[in-house]
């Protein structure tokens, strides 16, 4: 009895050692999990620079990490009123005046973002403008009547290991991207976020705006976990903003 126990114990130890060795050799870190068992997205993530939601991007991320991509929406399906808005020559360049970039555009900025994840909420932090956004995932619903805002209001729920975020309540004053594609206050977003590997996030966003676009538009992106030790920097847009609309303010040394 005692002998068979020893054999069983040694056998289990050998299996455990082999398992650990294989895991170490493959180098595959497991995807971390939240206390509720769902994938934990916490980390500093490099995203593709998406200056135009219509276009594909492949290769270097905004923060110059390799491996990001975006499958763009292709030609944008403007409604007549959306087309008129898009072709206006007197668009107000709100970003050049350090106003909030807006939700969709924040994810395409030339700087990374971070997630801090909790079972009840996802905190998104964009380096651009040092801006944050909270996504409750505690089962609450979006109110029917939302106060219009620059970044909208979000709620999230899980479908398997994919976090689905719905966002609306926009003020219509931002653009979808730096290519100045407009959206109205009817904008509704659905994002699907998953972490299939330790170092990778799959991010899909469906953009619906029946006022300006005849059909929903989709972007599929890959985010890459930044190297250990990389953190977000402070970004204070108003600090030294000098040439908006091509009219440069002379600095003290130039006066």
């Amino acid at each position: 009895m005692k002998k068979s126990f020893v054999i069983l114990f040694v056998g289990m130890a050998v299996i455990a050692a082999i398992t650990i060795t294989i895991a170490a050799q493959s180098g595959a870190k497991p995807v971390p999990r939240l206390a509720n068992g769902k994938p934990d997205f916490t980390g500093v993530w490099d995203h593709p620079r998406v200056g135009d939601v219509a276009a594909d991007v492949a290769g270097t991320c905004a923060g110059e990490t390799p491996g990001c991509s975006n499958k763009g929406a292709g030609p944008l399906p403007f409604t007549p009123i959306g087309k008129t808005e898009n072709e206006r020559k007197d668009k107000f360049d709100y970003g050049a005046r350090c106003l909030p970039w807006g939700y969709v555009r924040s994810y395409g900025t030339p700087y990374p973002h971070a997630y801090v994840h909790h079972p009840d909420r996802l905190a998104i932090m964009w380096e651009q403008d040092t801006r944050y956004h909270m996504v409750p995932t505690d089962g609450r619903k979006l109110p029917a009547d939302l106060e219009p805002s620059w970044m909208g209001k979000s709620v999230g729920h899980w479908e398997g290991d994919t976090l689905v975020i719905e966002t609306r309540g926009f003020n219509g004053r931002t653009w979808l991207d730096t290519a100045q594609h407009p959206h109205s206050d009817q904008l509704r977003l659905t994002e699907r976020i998953s972490r299939p590997e330790y170092g990778k996030i799959n991010y899909e966003i469906t953009i619906e705006d029946p006022k300006f676009y005849a059909k929903p538009m989709k972007n599929s992106r890959v985010f890459v976990l930044m190297a250990q030790g990389q953190e977000l920097f402070e970004y204070s847009c108003n600090e030294n903003n000098r040439c908006e609309d091509g009219k440069c303010t002379p600095s003290d040394v130039q006066k």
Partner: protein, 133 residues
């Protein structure tokens, strides 16, 4: 050290395409009007949304002499690239290349700094228009 800088410059050039930065490059600078100023560094503003470098010197393209302001990338972008706030000091003699501001003032996008020893540093956002391209 020089190899490291060269690698950074080459990397920067590889990822550079004329597109958009904090706001549109095209809204502020004229990509058809290059400037190449040789002079002394008067001031470095290591600040968001773009660093500004001021060079007292002459533009070799137009012959115009002024205190020129050059707009570079964001401090975060440059720090991640290994360039910190001390890379240029007041009094350094450099050659600075970029594109003239649309309003014609002595300001430009700041694409690259070349030191007297030939070392060259790309200072702009990765996607801004690169001088000589």
């Amino acid at each position: 050290m020089i190899r490291k800088w060269l690698a950074l410059v080459v990397l920067s050039l590889m990822v550079a395409t004329a597109a958009y930065a904090h706001h549109s490059f095209a809204a502020e600078f004229d990509g058809t009007k290059p400037v190449k100023v040789v002079g002394k560094v008067v001031k470095v503003e290591w600040a968001n949304p773009h660093i500004w470098l001021y060079i007292d010197g002459k533009d070799e393209v137009s012959g115009r002499t002024a205190v020129w302001g050059f707009s570079g990338g964001a401090p975060a972008t440059l720090t991640r690239r290994g360039i910190n706030r001390d890379f240029l000091k007041t009094g350094d003699v450099v050659t600075m290349q970029g594109f003239l501001a649309k309003d014609g003032s002595p300001n430009a996008s700041g694409g690259s700094v070349t030191f007297p020893n030939g070392r060259s540093v790309f200072t702009n956002s990765p996607e801004d228009k690169v001088p000589g391209k």
